[in-house]
């Protein structure tokens, strides 16, 4: 960010936009995954653990194999394995998905820390970025427009999911399971199987989000890598009212808020900038208060979710 100074306050805006794109990608992937899971009628609160385990798996695989893309695949597989575990436990009668989610949250983080100890020091190959800023000579613009392909994957996924939930067989089946388990059973669908697949798919996407953290931005593996992004992404699903496209907008908003702190710091404000680091958390809290009400259930919430019954 050496050139930021030349651009003055435009530099702050540029840094916020660039930060929004960078920081929003894991939010986007995790919240899309959680949307899929919740649309099937189950909440997976363990995605923070999935995210961290995904980050560790991606980094370790990349370090050992040298391929960041193989690392991303490993992150997705690790994520769906945790998703499968969550679903398998929740498929048992009288099991509460919230409690299982919290247990897997802790389990995922613990497992990642345990297996990830040897990988804290070394450096691994990073995911490449698309150099979309090459038209400019300004290094600040060039660095701001070096965008990860995962961001575009996320956008494509959001649009595909938004369309697919309404216009495909799988989308309709997923929504029946989430809206009325009785109706699903009456037409001969296995609700548990649908939810298992949805939770695994959600875990896969969250794992990818973790891989993005360790292989692109911030781009290393340590135990403080995720500061609650997985949990905030779940809050974001509620704010986006279970719409993949709104998840995209909400992620960009969260990403932008997270980038305010670092951006303000670069223009030389040295007092109080750390307050801006709290912005995403304040935003989460504010949005949850704004979108909830003591007298009504949430509009758009899948009817089978334990929170809407």
């Amino acid at each position: 960010m050496t050139g930021t100074f030349d651009l003055g306050w435009w530099g702050v805006l540029l840094a916020v936009v660039a930060g929004a794109i960078r920081v929003s990608t894991p939010y986007l992937l995790v919240s899309l995954g959680e949307t899929l899971t919740e649309k099937s009628g189950r909440v997976n609160l363990g995605l923070e653990g999935t995210l961290v385990l995904g980050a560790m798996s991606a980094f370790a695989t990349c370090y050992l194999s040298g391929s960041p893309w193989l690392g991303m695949l490993a992150a997705g597989v690790a994520g769906s394995a945790l998703g499968l575990l969550h679903a398998a436990i929740c498929n048992l009668p009288r099991v509460n998905d919230i409690a299982v989610g919290i247990a897997l949250f802790i389990f995922g983080i613990g497992l990642a820390f345990f297996l990830g100890k040897p990988f804290i020091e070394p450096r691994a190959a990073m995911l490449p970025a698309l150099p979309l800023g090459n038209w400019s000579d300004n290094p600040a613009i060039r660095s701001a427009f070096a965008i990860s392909p995962m961001f575009f994957v996320g956008i494509a996924l959001a649009i595909t999911l938004e369309w697919g939930l309404k216009n495909t067989r799988w989308g309709l089946i997923l929504r029946i399971a989430g809206e009325s388990a009785d109706a699903a059973r009456a037409i001969g669908l296995s609700v548990n199987r649908i939810r298992t697949l949805a939770t695994m798919a959600g875990g896969f996407l969250s794992g990818l989000g973790g891989g993005f953290l360790s292989l692109y931005y911030p781009g290393n593996w340590n135990e403080g890598l995720s500061s609650g992004q997985g949990l905030m992404a779940i809050a974001l699903v509620i704010f986006a009212r279970w719409s993949p496209l709104r998840c995209l907008y909400a992620s960009l908003l969260f990403g932008g808020t997270s980038a305010i702190g670092p951006a303000v710091q670069t223009v030389g404000i040295s007092e109080g900038y750390y307050l801006f680091y709290a912005a995403p958390y304040v935003l989460t809290l504010g949005l949850l208060i704004y979108s909830s009400s003591p007298t009504r259930t949430l509009a758009g919430a899948p009817s089978e979710l334990s929170i809407s019954r």
């Binding site: 309404k166 009325s180 007298t295 509009a299 009817s303």
Partner: protein
């Protein structure tokens, strides 16, 4: 209709069908024939085996013994798919629609195989063309949650026709409909059968519908087929005799002639009550009413028109947006102290979920109102558990509650006994205002009659009674005045003497569907 008019709809015969659930013999050598192109009524009390019989037909249960013969071929139904493949379809009493989806999406759900990608343009065109040929029509773009109960019932039937089912079973199709809606739905089914496009079987316990719309009738009692006959050869009285196995002199509760004097001040007064439902939409809109001591005011209405929210306000379970509630002339907030002081008792619908603690014992539930008062407690603080047992025993024997033991958890009791337990609790102290919602829902005729007699006794003793019920017959039987609640408003009011079933039904349907869950 998109079916070949030349081919006849299916004809089904069951032979010696038996089905046991644990120790209960649900079907006991039942043989019956459902002739093609006719409307067939299946009549019987709760637990007589009607549902079990049709579920065996539809492949939901597998019969322990006996045969199912479809169009002369013996068939084994292992799964609903087997029945669907033969053109058999069923409309359940509890709707299997997905409320947060559109009518069109719900149509698609029943398909054996959904297309991988759904082309909504052509689906909507096909649905519109289908609707144009149908006796009743619905907008495919509407959300099911915004449909009234009658429209949902029609959607369920249309779904079966859309899927080319030509032997259709309806499980108590009119339980949530107004009289005129019921007449319309059953009338259309009869017309389609007369055109030899459908074979229809409907389950009911309303004799009026059997005589009005069915051609054949089978009567089940305790798992046995007691009669199968043409309706033309039977009368309402003879059907009732076969159904209940007793002389058809219905036990009506005695209405004491001591009517409430018009001059008496109302004991309960609601003025301009507004409230929102769970999803934030207006549910009760400016409801006002009053109940005097010694009268039963009945509120009729189709489910989902604000009755639930109104009762919750009276029971202290929901906050009102505006309006006032007065009991005995004083402002009423529904606190425990006020309930006690003014002798207010509330029996809310589905008490196991809404007004009792399912995992606590019967005796603890019986004491929920009085557990901290003498003789059950000392100084309002120390509970005397030894006093609980005789207190509960007295109520259990007085209200004939069948529980394994007073210490058995309430959730282990049958629906009728849970209802009696909560009723006993509510009537255990001096009652001056009784508020009841669907007090007899899901009970058999004997249990319902017992509860209705209790309600009448409370009224005859001079208490004010507010009865909110989806069962119009119940409202008409018990009420001194009848009100109709539709679209969140009290839209109609009449005296017992002037009450007309169809006029009330007409008001029940007006303003509906504006509100939904």
């Amino acid at each position: 209709m998109n079916i070949k008019p030349t081919s006849a709809p299916p004809e089904i015969e069951v032979v010696d069908l038996c089905k046991n659930f644990a120790a209960v013999r649900a079907l006991d050598h039942v043989s019956a024939k459902f002739r093609a192109g006719r409307v067939h009524a299946l009549l019987g009390e709760n637990g007589a085996g009607k549902s079990t019989l049709v579920k065996c037909l539809m492949g939901y249960h597998r019969a322990d013994a006996g045969q199912i013969v479809v169009d002369g071929h013996r068939r084994v139904m292992l799964h609903p798919r087997d029945a669907h493949g033969l053109g058999l379809g069923m409309v359940y009493q509890h709707f299997t629609l997905v409320p947060q989806m559109t009518v069109a999406e719900n149509f698609l759900l029943g398909r054996e195989r959904l297309p991988v990608m759904i082309d909504w343009g052509s689906e909507h065109a096909a649905l519109d063309a289908f609707m144009a040929r149908m006796p009743f029509r619905l907008d495919p773009r509407r959300l099911v949650a915004t449909l009234a109960a009658g429209e949902k019932q029609k959607l369920e039937i249309l779904k079966q026709l859309y899927l080319n089912r030509r032997f259709i079973v309806l499980d108590e199709p009119t339980s949530v409909l107004t009289p005129s809606e019921a007449d319309e739905v059953l009338g259309e089914m009869r017309r389609l059968a007369d055109a030899r496009q459908l074979t229809v079987v409907f389950i009911t316990h309303k004799l009026r519908e059997v005589v009005g719309f069915a051609q054949d009738v089978s009567i089940l009692r305790a798992g046995k087929l007691v009669a199968q006959t043409e309706v033309a050869a039977a009368s309402e009285a003879s059907l009732a005799r076969m159904m209940f196995d007793l002389p058809a002199s219905a036990e009506r509760p005695d209405r004491s002639s001591r009517a409430a004097s018009q001059a008496t001040a109302p004991y309960l007064e609601l003025a301009g009550i507004h409230a929102v439902g769970d999803r934030g939409a207006p549910a009760v809109i400016g409801a006002s009413l009053s109940v005097r001591p010694g009268e039963i005011v009945g509120i009729a209405g189709v489910s989902g028109n604000g009755q639930k929210e109104l009762v919750q306000i009276l029971a202290g379970q929901r906050v009102r947006q505006a309006g006032s509630v007065r009991v005995g002339g004083q402002v009423f907030h529904g606190t425990r102290h006020e309930l006690e002081r003014w002798g207010v008792s509330v029996l809310i619908e589905e008490p196991l979920a809404n007004a009792a603690v399912a995992s606590m014992s019967v005796m603890e539930n019986l004491a929920l109102r009085q557990f901290d008062q003498p003789p059950l407690a000392i100084a309002g603080f120390v509970l005397k558990r030894r006093a609980l047992w005789p207190f509960a025993q007295a109520l259990i024997s007085r209200y004939a509650i069948r529980a394994g033991s007073p210490a058995a958890p309430l959730e282990t009791l049958s629906g009728g006994n849970v209802q009696r337990t909560v009723l006993a609790r509510e009537l255990a102290r001096a009652v001056r205002l009784l508020i009841m919602q669907n007090p007899c829902f899901g009970l058999d005729v004997a249990a319902a009659g017992e509860i209705r007699r209790q309600i009448m006794r409370v009224r005859n003793d001079g208490a004010a009674v507010l009865l909110i019920s989806e069962d119009l017959d119940e409202v008409l039987e018990l009420s001194d005045r009848v009100l109709v609640m539709a679209g969140g408003r009290i839209s109609y009011q009449t005296d017992r003497a002037a009450a007309d079933r169809y006029e009330i039904g007409r008001h029940m349907t007006q303003g509906m569907a504006r509100l939904s869950a």
